[in-house]
């Protein structure tokens, strides 16, 4: 289900002294099953953009189509859009409220008025997807879990809605490196298994470089780049100017190239390792 955004503009606090242009004439298309990394500096409009995609914020002007439906037209109930487009906010564990993990994850499906068997099935499946043991956690209070587990429960709560598009706003914020890798790994698995369109918001290039198909870079409410990681990472100067970096490995490759090594573009340490080894071996052979 493609997402199409046309000339989207959003102005906060319009016609007051606090007026602020958050999104400035944005257009793009995301195809079915794509994994997109949305990256930008604080205040670049990332959060505003993703909240538009499931109708939490109305555009000042412009249109958004999900599955060819204009999501802001009156004929389509927002509930349907919100079921199709699942949004995991920053620090999602702050929204937990039920007395048991089961009930909290079931909140979404129950709002969809599903049968109790279907709810149970979904809770089981989504806790499974985020790597939690259903029998172990279902009766626990979500407040007794560790930080990483809480976050997983919160993500499971959105997955239980069975969204066709999953948007995650900085899902790794405030986690330790291990928790971060685990969550990112699970998101990747999820994308592979369920084939849902995924949008991952982050301000760490490192995190998203090896996961995503395409990167959408935002700057001051506009789209700076929207391309595959290899191409985006070539624009080191522009990225640094707008307060973003490229993965460390890209710097290494760039330096090596300057020294005259013929290395192709790489985005992960593993790729770089093979590339460098190839170059060295190639030299020896020659």
């Amino acid at each position: 289900m493609p997402i199409k955004v046309e000339n989207l503009v959003h102005i906060y606090m319009r016609d007051t002294v606090f007026q602020h242009l958050a999104l400035d004439d944005i257009s793009f298309t995301i195809e079915d099953g794509e994994f997109i990394g949305l990256i930008g500096h604080t205040g670049s409009g990332k959060s505003t953009l993703i909240q538009h995609l499931n109708g939490l914020i109305k555009p000042t002007s412009g249109k958004i189509f999900v599955d060819d439906f204009d999501i802001n037209s009156k004929e389509i109930p927002l509930k349907i859009i919100r079921q199709k487009v699942g949004l995991v906010f920053q620090y999602p564990e702050h929204q937990l409220f039920e007395e048991s993990v089961y009930k909290d994850v079931a909140f979404g499906p129950r709002n969809l008025k599903l049968s109790e068997e279907e709810v149970e099935k979904r809770v089981k499946a989504s806790l499974d997807l985020v790597g939690l043991n259903y029998d172990e956690v279902k009766d626990k209070s979500p407040f007794d879990l560790s930080g990483g587990q809480k976050r997983r429960v919160a993500i499971a709560g959105v997955l239980a809605m069975k969204p066709k598009v999953l948007i995650l706003d900085e899902p790794t914020a405030g986690l330790d490196p291990r928790g971060r890798d685990e969550i990112l790994g699970e998101i990747k698995e999820l994308h592979k298994k369920e084939k849902i369109t995924t949008i991952l918001v982050s301000h760490s290039m490192e995190d998203i470089a090896k996961l995503v198909d395409k990167i959408l870079v935002m700057n001051k409410g506009k789209i700076q780049f929207f391309d595959i990681p290899q191409k985006v990472f070539k624009e080191v100067e522009t990225l640094e100017r707008i307060g973003l970096g490229v993965p460390q490995v890209s710097y290494l490759i760039r330096e090596l190239r300057k020294k005259g090594f013929a290395i192709e573009d790489c985005i992960s340490v593993e790729e770089a390792k093979t590339a460098i080894i190839n170059v060295i071996r190639g030299k020896k052979d020659a």
């Binding site: 939490l56 509930k79 079921q83 999602p92 409220f97 909140f107 979404g108 809605m161």
Partner: protein, 267 residues
């Protein structure tokens, strides 16, 4: 809905009203409120209107904003007016079904309605023109003499400052949690009263948890910086009563006397 709440909001400015000493402003506001309760003839409100008009025009606060503060309280005002119209005994003018409207009731209702409206706008003018920090400074100074009888003036002022400081934070938090639950299909807008009250649970529980967490963190941060209350603390900005404060007090005394005159000396 949340954006309509203007209570406690401050609009910065550099006008004679903004620059008054907060203690003086608090005293004037209390005198004004007391004066409202002394009025017993309609023409007494002429003084009130004059006093308010002068204060508002000096403060350059748009009247629109002032009246917006009345919006959330309209229900209370209307209820008061209605109760007074129907519940006051006296000379009956008109009867609807079993409800009698009396002449005394209408007069009483008019008084109460005007009193409430001026009460709220007067108090809002104080908070609109005084930053929360200087407001609590003023309260602390005014309560200082009561320290001798054991009133914890500094602590009270500190609590107020913190409470005011957290209003915007909690509003933001509410907005965020609301959106997160709406993304999971929660519905805060439709349904009858019971289902709406139930819909508040997923909002209120996380909100309380986060409020407690923030309180904890703040307490810890204050402890870590050795905060020990008001003893021997000095201020960066000392409050000084100036000429304009005496002027304002004089005007208030004239106003108050006029109200007393209208009540006791005019037949």
């Amino acid at each position: 809905m949340l954006k309509d709440i203007t209570i406690g909001q401050y609009i910065p400015g550099d006008t004679p009203v903004h620059n008054l000493d907060p203690r003086v402003k608090i005293i004037i506001t209390f005198a004004f409120i007391a004066a409202l309760f002394f009025i017993d003839k309609f023409f007494g409100y002429l003084f009130v209107i004059g006093f308010m008009a002068m204060s508002i025009s000096l403060s350059k606060i748009p009247v629109k904003i002032l009246f917006k503060g009345l919006k959330p309280l309209i229900a209370i005002i209307l209820l008061t007016v209605a109760l007074n119209i129907f519940m006051t005994e006296g000379e009956v003018i008109y009867t609807i079904w079993k409800l009698k409207i009396t002449k005394e009731g209408l007069i009483q209702a008019g008084f109460m309605g005007l009193r409430l409206i001026f009460l709220i706008t007067g108090a809002s003018l104080l908070t609109l023109t005084t930053s929360p920090i200087s407001l609590t400074d003023g309260i602390e100074k005014l309560l200082n003499p009561l320290k001798k009888v054991g009133v914890p003036a500094h602590e009270l002022a500190m609590m107020m400052t913190i409470a005011l400081r957290f209003i915007p934070t909690l509003l933001e938090e509410t907005d965020k949690i609301m959106k997160a639950q709406m993304a999971r299909g929660a519905d805060f807008e439709t349904g009858n009263i019971i289902s709406r009250a139930k819909a508040m649970v997923p909002l209120l529980v996380p909100l309380f948890i986060s409020a407690f967490r923030r309180a904890d963190e703040l307490a810890l941060a204050m402890e870590a910086r050795c905060y020990r209350g008001g003893e021997n603390r000095t201020r960066m900005k000392q409050l000084i009563i100036e000429f304009r404060d005496y002027m304002a007090l004089t005007i208030t005394i004239v106003f108050f006397s006029a109200i007393l005159w209208s009540r006791y000396l005019v037949k």
